[in-house]
């Protein structure tokens, strides 16, 4: 006999059955990246925590985990930023205003916005990793007095692949938010830094005793960044990473996203570095 999984009492059905939401706006961010704004007003808004993701279903094609990249304090718009890489995300990046997408979620753990209250926030993003961190930045700027310094460091390939460039400039223009950008290679008229994200950390002084770091980007960039942060004195308990693994159910049932003894969908994606630093070094995981 096989015991079938049933949702615990009180668990909402939307974790299993996709809700149909209409695409209200399509914003082309970069040649291979679009932001889809789904209208969640008919269901009374979509509440989520910074760092959480949804399973987005393009009917007839497939379902993929995508982080929510919108503003948690404006839950009327449900926003995702998607890079076209494969079978599902390529056609998903072609959807038009008025098309319908299935949404299951929100799933997963959140950036530790409450634990970080009273501390300095060091937000380090690489490439598309800025999308899952953008809700944390919105949250911090909306509750600005709850935090000390807010530092956003962003690394990407080249000046023409900077995601949310206008917003990065807007944040940089605020007197209460420090923003710096680094790219791997640039024409000589580029005004930002050229080099890897860990090198950018050396340009900033921060107090390791009162800083919480939130890091999201390609795993290799996160590994190097987390190591550089610990070298600068930040305790592992103060460093949080967003771990991505291939997912199917998104809710801790199928085991697809197993990451050592944890499931990335339910114990993550946001995890504390002291809990996972050993796992990140095991290549078979």
């Amino acid at each position: 006999m096989v015991e079938l999984w049933t949702p615990p009492p009180g668990e909402r059905a939307h974790t299993m059955v996709p809700r149909m939401l209409r695409v209200d706006r399509v914003i082309r961010e970069l040649p291979d990246i679009v932001t889809l704004v789904l209208d969640s007003a008919p269901m009374g808004g979509f509440r989520f925590g910074p760092g959480q993701f949804n399973m987005l279903y393009l009917f007839g094609t497939g379902e993929v985990p995508i982080s929510i990249s919108g503003n948690p304090v404006e839950p009327g718009d449900l926003v995702h930023t998607i890079r076209a890489v494969g079978q599902v995300t390529r056609p998903m990046c072609q959807v038009k205003r008025g098309d319908m997408l299935g949404v299951r979620g929100p799933f997963g753990t959140e950036w530790p916005m409450d634990d970080a209250r009273g501390k300095d926030l060091l937000i380090v993003a690489g490439g598309l990793g800025l999308a899952p961190l953008r809700p944390a930045i919105y949250h911090a700027l909306h509750h600005r007095s709850a935090y000390g310094r807010v530092i956003v460091l962003y690394g990407t390939r080249a000046p023409d692949s900077i995601l949310f460039e206008d917003e990065l400039h807007t944040w940089r223009g605020r007197f209460d938010c420090e923003v710096d950008i680094t790219v791997d290679r640039a024409p000589t008229d580029f005004r930002g830094h050229v080099g890897v994200v860990p090198a950018l950390l050396d340009r900033f002084s921060f107090d390791p005793d009162r800083t919480v770091a939130m890091v999201c980007g390609p795993e290799i960039m996160m590994r190097f960044t987390a190591r550089a942060l610990t070298k600068k004195g930040l305790p592992r308990e103060a460093i949080w990473l967003s771990v991505e693994r291939s997912m199917k159910c998104g809710m801790g049932v199928c085991g697809h996203c197993q990451f050592g003894p944890t499931f990335a969908c339910k114990d993550g994606p946001v995890m504390r570095y002291d809990h996972i630093f050993r796992l990140l070094d095991i290549r078979e995981i």
Binding site: R157, S161, D184, F190, H193, V196, P198, I220, M221
Partner: protein, 156 residues
């Protein structure tokens, strides 16, 4: 002199050196400022001077005939520039010239240490020689690790 010694000792590259060793280096050092756009080191030039950057950004640029120049790295406060002076031996060039242009992107403050002067002090005092060589190796190794990561094109 005392001020130069104190501010030299505060530079990250020298901060692990003993105060006696820093004192020995003062005679090789000058406090300099470069205006935005000025070249600190040009491709093909001997690296006969050692720069300890204190403030400002330096772009390491490669010029490619027929193509737009490209910036492959920026350096800033705490970084060092031009290390192959250490490889010269009794006036015999190690054949290492600068491989890129180093251009001040904005006003740059730096200490410039004369390579020949440094080599003499390093030969005269083994402990200083060892301490400086260690620092140089560590700095070059860190730069190499960063450039390796940079060459991986991790952002996909």
């Amino acid at each position: 002199m005392e001020n130069l010694e104190r501010s030299l000792a505060e530079h990250p590259f020298l901060k692990d050196l003993s105060s006696e060793h820093v004192k020995l280096l003062v005679g090789c050092a000058k406090n300099v400022r470069y205006a935005a756009g000025e070249i600190l080191l040009r491709e093909g030039e001997d690296e006969s001077q050692f720069f300890l950057i204190r403030q400002g950004t330096i772009a390491m640029e490669a010029y490619r005939p027929g193509k737009t120049p490209v910036c492959v790295e920026t350096l800033g406060a705490g970084d060092v520039l031009g290390v192959s002076w250490v490889l010269e031996d009794d006036g015999v060039r190690a054949g290492m010239a600068s491989t890129l242009d180093a251009r001040a992107r904005e006003s740059v403050l730096a200490f410039v240490l004369d390579g020949e002067c440094l080599r003499k002090k390093m030969s005269a005092d083994d402990k200083l020689g060892h301490a400086l060589s260690r620092q140089l190796l560590s700095s070059v190794y860190q730069r190499l690790a960063r450039l390796r990561l940079q060459s991986l094109d991790v952002y996909g």
